[in-house]
């Protein structure tokens, strides 16, 4: 009996548990693919399955680990070894084999698994820790679950949120009664339907929100706001398309995928597990550098507005911050800084970090009592003098 289909299916299932998007369709295609190649060549089998099961670069490493573990055959093994391997039934077919296997896979792979899906394959976290782990505090975070009332309130507030980022004109057109251009296609169609009289149909450029990239500080000095900010970030991620969210303290983590879960409690729990530098120090310069190098081209591409939420208290005293802020500022449509530092009466921009950052933001939004989602939404939605001073952006 040919056990290969079963094994490919099990392999696909393991990959799915590891976060790859391998549906039954892929499994069928993979089996088809294997009929076209020499399955005696491990390398060919590897790349054939890779082409079908992997669909983003960051998954490659996970795939490699899973492949090596599942299709365990010595490097350079000849045909029979692999085929034998593929023909063997899974170790113990009955009660718990699959789940245990997956549990094993999870146990072995969990560090990678918990790392962000989109994270680049190079080892970002380890390097940073190694360079100065002495005072870095790594820990997960548990959040109180959200009550139904809170959820309703969040929804209501999101509807009210007006970010200081006007919609931009796209290059697409939409029908509009008094648009500046004539829609020839619609005009001709209408003319054919009605007969003699030709009514000119018009169209005008469609408008949409630019993409939004949020970078949010989760260091010790911002700890009091963490839950509220995450609720905000969750709401905004699910409220509109093209939102990317990064959290940073001593390192930078992309939590967009985690936040995309509809249920805020599940999303926050995932974020709490994924991010390892809750309530530690802040290294804004390092975080921005990493963002600029690894992410800016991937998420700022289409004229994104960047919202930076931080108190600007930088452990590195602003080292390297100036250059990175400049670069960030140049790469995005608009850079908005929301600063909750004003909770201290008599705030002055004294900290080196703040002084390095201030010259490079388009808009500075200090918030006094950032104690609720409502205050945050209000702070972001106020139309300020500064916002009106940029008609060019609004147009």
């Amino acid at each position: 009996m040919n056990l290969l289909p079963g094994n490919v299916m099990h392999f696909a299932r393991i990959l799915r548990r590891l976060g790859l998007h391998t549906g039954p369709g892929q499994t069928v295609l993979a089996l088809d693919a294997l009929t076209h190649i020499d399955i005696g060549r491990r390398e060919d089998v590897y790349w054939a399955l890779h082409a079908l099961f992997v669909n983003r670069h960051a998954q490659s490493e996970m795939f490699r680990l899973a492949f090596d573990r599942f299709w365990r055959a010595p490097e350079g093994a000849d045909a029979s070894a692999l085929i034998d391997e593929a023909q063997k039934p899974l170790p113990s077919p009955a009660p718990s084999p699959l789940s245990r296997r997956i549990a094993d896979a999870f146990a072995e792979l969990s560090p990678q698994l918990n790392a962000n899906d989109d994270a680049p394959a190079e080892p970002p976290a380890a390097d940073i820790t190694a360079s100065w782990s002495a005072s870095e505090r790594l820990r997960g975070q548990d959040f109180e679950t959200m009550s139904a009332a809170e959820m309703a309130e969040a929804k209501r507030l999101m509807a009210k949120l007006r970010l200081p980022m006007p919609e931009v004109r796209t290059r697409r057109f939409a029908p509009a009664a008094h648009g500046p251009r004539i829609d020839l296609r619609a005009t001709l169609k209408a003319a054919l339907a009605t007969g003699d009289l030709v009514h000119l149909k018009r169209k005008s450029p469609a408008r949409r929100h630019p993409p939004l990239v949020v970078m949010c500080d989760i260091s010790g000095s911002m700890a009091a706001y963490a839950r509220m900010l995450l609720h905000f970030l969750h709401a905004i991620t699910n409220d509109r398309d093209r939102v990317h969210v990064f959290l940073f303290g001593t390192r930078l983590t992309n939590v967009t995928r985690e936040l995309q879960h509809r249920d805020p409690d599940v999303a926050l729990a995932r974020v709490g597990r994924t991010v390892r530098d809750w309530s530690g120090g802040t290294r804004i310069g390092v975080a921005l550098e990493e963002f600029n190098r690894l992410w800016s081209r991937r998420v700022l591409g289409q004229g994104a507005v960047t919202l930076l939420i931080t108190d600007g208290l930088d452990r590195d005293a602003g080292t390297g911050l100036d250059i990175e802020m400049q670069r960030l500022h140049r790469s995005c449509r608009r850079l908005i800084w929301l600063n909750p530092l004003l909770r201290y009466a008599g705030f002055e921009p004294k900290s080196a970090g703040i002084r390095a950052m201030l010259p490079h933001v388009d808009e500075f939004r200090p918030v006094h009592n950032l104690d609720s989602l409502a205050a945050l939404v209000a702070a972001l939605s106020t139309v300020t003098q500064a916002c009106r001073a940029f008609p060019a952006v609004a147009a």
């Binding site: 790349w47 054939a48 082409a51 983003r56 796209t170 057109f173 591409g301």
Partner: protein
């Protein structure tokens, strides 16, 4: 070049690319072979300048097929990607019919193929003399999500629907190559219909082979040093590490300057060919460049 047959094994796929002057690794050859065999689009992702577009061009040339290129940009719509009606001609036809007193007939006639302007996607579904064409959908990440969603229909059924004419379906599906520079994530639904391949920077051996094939005038010694230097740059966490295109340009530039080997002055003067961001140039110019040259020379022997 005589047209090659469609490869029937991975080795032949690799050979096909090699015949077109493209030095591919086994992974790419496997993905390409499967894409051709299973008639699925090949989705190529990778940094700028690693030779994604080139794959489609080489494929068209070696297989003797037409290359149809759809360059994506923001706001790309059906009118510029698939088809558009030739409105001036349609209006003219109606006027002529009116003048002849046969306005009623014109209404039926103006939505026929002679008033249709075919754009790349529609062209790709038509019959081509040399066999199904190579359809290159270049830099898909530059379009927006609605266009991606539209592509889903085209790529799964190789069919587009023109409301006035009905569906147009390809007899034989074209060979589809999609490239993305990853300036945004392409939706999984689209990727699922494709075979995915990440085009990485080549290792030193392959990069030397590429240089030999693409810039044959460059001496081996210089070529080895250039590759060593560029490979070092890629490990430096630059804002934009140089791609293969830059390596080839640089080799050509150095040869034009009659350089026999890398030296600090020439490298400093030509760094702009390799690095395209001022921050990166400022960082590498001077001491770092000198160290890298020394390392590259040592490695090149």
């Amino acid at each position: 070049m005589a047209a090659h047959p469609v490869p029937t094994s991975i080795d032949q796929a690799a050979e096909l690319l090699r015949a077109g002057g493209y030095v591919a690794d086994r992974a790419l050859a496997t993905s390409l072979f499967l894409a051709l065999t299973m008639q699925r689009p090949l989705f190529l992702e990778g940094e700028a300048g690693v030779g994604k577009t080139e794959i489609a061009k080489v494929l068209a040339a070696t297989l003797g097929r037409d290359l149809i290129r759809l360059q994506c940009y923001e706001g790309l719509d059906v009118a510029s990607a698939v088809y558009e009606w030739n409105y001036p001609r349609q209006i003219m036809a109606i006027r002529l019919a009116e003048a002849a007193g046969k306005a009623g007939d014109a209404a039926q006639g103006i939505y026929s193929e002679q008033y249709l302007i075919k754009r790349p996607l529609l062209q790709a579904l038509e019959k081509h003399a040399g066999g199904p064409p190579v359809l290159l959908i270049d830099e898909l990440d530059r379009t927006d999500e609605p266009f991606e969603a539209f592509l889903l229909e085209v790529l799964s059924d190789f069919q587009v629907t023109i409301p006035e004419l009905g569906p147009v379906k390809a007899d034989q599906p074209p060979i589809v190559i999609i490239t993305s520079n990853r300036t945004r994530e392409i939706h999984d639904a689209l990727k699922r219909r494709c075979l995915y391949h990440w085009v990485d920077y080549p290792n030193a051996d392959r990069e030397r082979a590429i240089l030999k094939s693409k810039a044959p005038g460059v001496a081996d010694r210089l070529s080895a040093q250039i590759v060593g230097f560029v490979q070092n740059l890629r490990g430096m966490e630059l804002f934009k590490p140089p791609g293969i295109a830059e390596t080839i340009d640089w080799a050509t530039a150095l040869t034009a300057l009659n350089a026999k080997e890398l030296d600090a002055a020439t490298v400093d003067a030509t760094l702009g060919v390799v690095l395209k961001y001022q921050d990166d140039i400022a960082r590498v110019r001077g001491d770092v460049a000198a160290d890298t040259i020394a390392a590259a020379k040592k490695a090149a022997g």
